[in-house]
């Protein structure tokens, strides 16, 4: 039996040899190796990079862009590991807004303010709040934005209208938002939102003052026992107690089905959510959805993508050139917006007729104009390396309030202690 296996393996190898031969010949006949720019990205952001590659390769004959794509969940893990080891790093690495705080303090990334990048000179060309988030605690600019997510309130206009409600009833104030939810539930049995937790997230961001962090102040101390958190928790609790949320997690099957079937009437997210609604969640609901500004005239950012140049990059200058093309070239920025709903971070790309065009999916509403106005008024938010940890702790605290009826001040006080403990911040505070 073993002998037969051996023979089989030998036979397979022999059979594979002719297949390998052309590859060997091809390699031998190839001209001198091209310079290569290695870019790591995640879906769908990789599509924007793909759009830019032909123009970049025309600009740099002899340079080939190699794009390596990892899932959004795997990319930060892979990049942290690579930064830790200082090996296997690309020339240009993508990160989503959620992971920016974790990486901006990394000593393994170039400070883009320094030569040869001198990104400070370009600051006026980029949405200020997005650029602010790319700075680490030391002030170094290590991540540069390529798209942003101005927050919007998406809602089903048909459900609202048949419940006798107008858009203003939904976003005049948070109290009105809840009142509209009750009316909607009474009339249709539809839920106002997928999960009360989403409202907490939005309120936390919407009530931020310029330059403040969501969870930490600029000194890295937690801000959990502030009126902002109390209000966010209280609103989420009221929503849950009134039975206005469907208690489903965003991106789960129940959530997308709920939105598709009109069981969930509104969702607050970045402008990029329009593409998800239109492409796969509710493609048949043409004309039924609308985009509104957030309640109480708040402006918040949701998501967004960044690129960074590792110090170990072999082609930092080429990487910077490619990054500038992605981030600042109006044609490229608009192409990314048209293709994958990545809202332009470059101010110059936010102009033009494209933004005034009526959108059939939104019943002819020129929604892009609204998102642009929101983008201009979003305050700068300070990112912290402990944001992801604090987010976990705050969500756990809100679960205790929503599920077990714990008092909000007590839950927040405990959460703050836990953030201090988990972030090992007690020593620093002392």
């Amino acid at each position: 039996m073993k002998r037969r296996n051996w023979c089989g393996a030998m036979g397979m190898t022999a059979a594979a040899l002719p297949l390998l031969a052309p590859a060997v010949v091809h390699a031998a006949a190839r001209p001198a190796a091209k310079r290569e720019l290695i870019v790591t990205s995640f879906p769908d952001l990789d599509r924007a990079a793909r759009l830019a590659i032909p123009a970049f390769e025309r600009r740099h004959p002899g340079v080939r862009v190699r794009l390596s794509v990892l899932s959004l969940a795997d990319l930060p893990t892979a990049m942290i590991t690579a930064l830790a080891a200082g090996a296997n790093l690309p020339d240009l690495m993508a990160m989503d807004r959620e992971n920016v705080g974790k990486l901006t303090d990394s000593a393994g990334l170039h400070d883009l303010r320094a030569a040869p990048f001198r990104a400070d000179a370009l600051a006026a060309q980029v949405a200020p709040f997005a650029l602010a988030a790319g700075h680490g605690r030391s002030g170094a600019l290590t991540a540069f934005p390529v798209d942003i997510g101005p927050g919007a309130l998406f809602y089903r206009a048909d459900l609202l209208a048949s419940a006798g409600l107008a858009e203003a009833d939904l976003n005049r104030s948070w109290a009105d938002y809840l009142r509209a939810g009750r009316q909607l539930k009474a009339k249709h049995g539809a839920y106002l939102i997928g999960n009360a937790v989403d409202v907490k997230d939005l309120v936390l961001r919407a009530l931020l003052a310029e330059g403040e962090g969501v969870f930490f102040d600029q000194g890295g101390q937690p801000l959990l026992r502030t009126p902002r958190f109390e209000r966010a928790f209280a609103l989420a609790q009221q929503l849950r107690q009134a039975g206005l949320d469907a208690r489903v997690v965003a991106w789960s099957n129940e959530w997308s089905e709920g939105l598709r079937r009109g069981r969930i009437a509104s969702q607050m997210f970045g402008s990029w959510f329009a593409g998800h609604l239109q492409n796969w969640i509710a493609p048949k609901a043409v004309g039924l959805w609308r985009s509104a500004s957030l309640p109480e005239g708040a402006f918040a950012s949701w998501g967004g993508s960044y690129y960074a140049i590792p110090r170990a990059a072999r082609e930092p200058e080429l990487a910077w050139d490619f990054l500038r093309l992605l981030a600042l070239d109006p044609t490229q920025q608009l192409a990314a917006f048209e293709t994958l709903d990545a809202f332009p971070s470059a101010v110059a790309a936010q102009q033009g007729d494209y933004f005034d065009a009526p959108l059939p999916f939104f019943g002819g509403q020129p929604a892009r104009r609204q998102w642009r106005e929101a983008a201009a008024r979003i305050p700068s938010v300070d990112a912290d390396r402990n944001d992801a940890m604090a987010n976990d702790v705050v969500n756990a605290a809100l679960e205790r309030v929503l599920e077990h009826g714990e008092r909000i001040p007590a839950a927040l006080a405990e959460a703050e202690q836990r953030v201090l403990r988990r972030g090992r911040l007690l020593k620093r505070a002392a």
Binding site: I80, A84, N253, R421
Partner: protein, 301 residues
């Protein structure tokens, strides 16, 4: 001189031939192991690079044991799921193997193969399928429970159900594996022992209880050890089923998941390494306990 060199070369040859294993083991086995001990004694944010490591001695262990209440909770969750998924695995696998052995005849291997199928299927794929099966509004489990008992709309993500859901998936996945183990042990039992017992008037139950079960003890020890080690390191199933967070109230956050989050969400590789070693101590302790309960005793032999 030449002869001496040749002799030395001859002596070195065996070491040269076995060196690939040792080189690979040193690079991919031993080094990470030792590095993680070293790491557990440091405070380190990996994104900052190797230069950012600072010595903290046993502080990470102290933090994990005294301050990290999520770690303590994760230990309970892990033990709970390990028992909930592990005990039924053996209680069902043993009779199942006996039934396959005695009643299935030539269909035995086919039926065994069917039970074994979940074991060789990707955990991630299985967990994703189960996520759909346990869906609150559109899942087949709820529609079945609704049809059979009139229990509608159970939200399986709620903390009181999370552990049960994970334990069920783990039980279902490893049942076939344990059945194979027990069946292979049953097949080695000499038939004449059973026939002798039958001649002595022992019924089916008596033959199983007094002849088979004692002979299966070594295999039971082996199988329970594997279950203990596997279940205490549980990661993929709870990770996918709870969307990577551990679920509401962290009801499904196992210790392996917790240390992954400490490392990659909180960026604290030092504490994560310390937790990994503490988990190792728990696993080693339970294996020792299992050895005391089920293992062969030298003095008894």
């Amino acid at each position: 001189m030449k002869a001496a060199l040749q002799k030395r070369w001859r002596q070195a040859q065996p070491y040269l031939f076995i060196s690939p294993f040792f080189i690979l083991f040193a690079v991919f086995g031993l080094f990470p192991l030792l590095f993680s001990i070293w790491l557990s004694l440091h405070s380190w944010d990996p994104a900052a690079g190797l230069g950012a490591m600072s010595w903290v001695a046993l502080d990470n262990y102290r933090y994990a044991l005294m301050d990290d209440d999520w770690f303590h909770q994760s230990l309970w969750t892990t033990l709970w799921i390990a028992l909930l998924a592990g005990v039924p695995q053996h209680l069902v696998a043993l009779p199942l193997a006996w039934w396959l052995h005695t009643a299935m005849g030539r269909w035995r291997n086919l039926v065994l193969g069917l039970y074994f199928l979940p074991f060789i299927t990707s955990t991630v794929a299985l967990s994703l399928v189960f996520t759909s099966l346990f869906s609150k509004d559109f899942g087949i489990v709820n529609s079945l429970l609704d049809t059979l008992f009139g229990w509608g709309g159970i939200d399986w993500r709620r903390p009181e159900y999370t552990k049960w859901m994970i334990a069920f998936v783990v039980f279902w996945r490893y049942l076939g594996w344990n059945t194979v183990l027990y069946l292979s042990a049953l097949q080695t039992v000499p038939k004449d022992l059973l026939e002798a017992a039958e001649l002595d008037g022992a019924g089916a139950w008596a033959r199983f209880r007094h002849v088979m079960l004692p002979l299966l003890k070594p295999m039971a020890y082996f199988a329970v050890t594997l279950t203990l080690i596997g279940n205490l390191q549980l990661f993929e199933e709870p990770f996918i089923l709870t969307g990577g967070t551990g679920g509401i109230d962290q009801g499904g956050r196992t210790t392996a998941m917790h240390l992954y989050r400490v490392a990659f969400t909180e960026g604290d590789f030092g504490t994560a390494s310390a937790i990994a070693w503490l988990l190792f101590i728990v696993i080693a302790g339970s294996t020792w306990l299992n050895n005391r309960l089920l293992g062969e005793r030298k003095e008894a032999a």
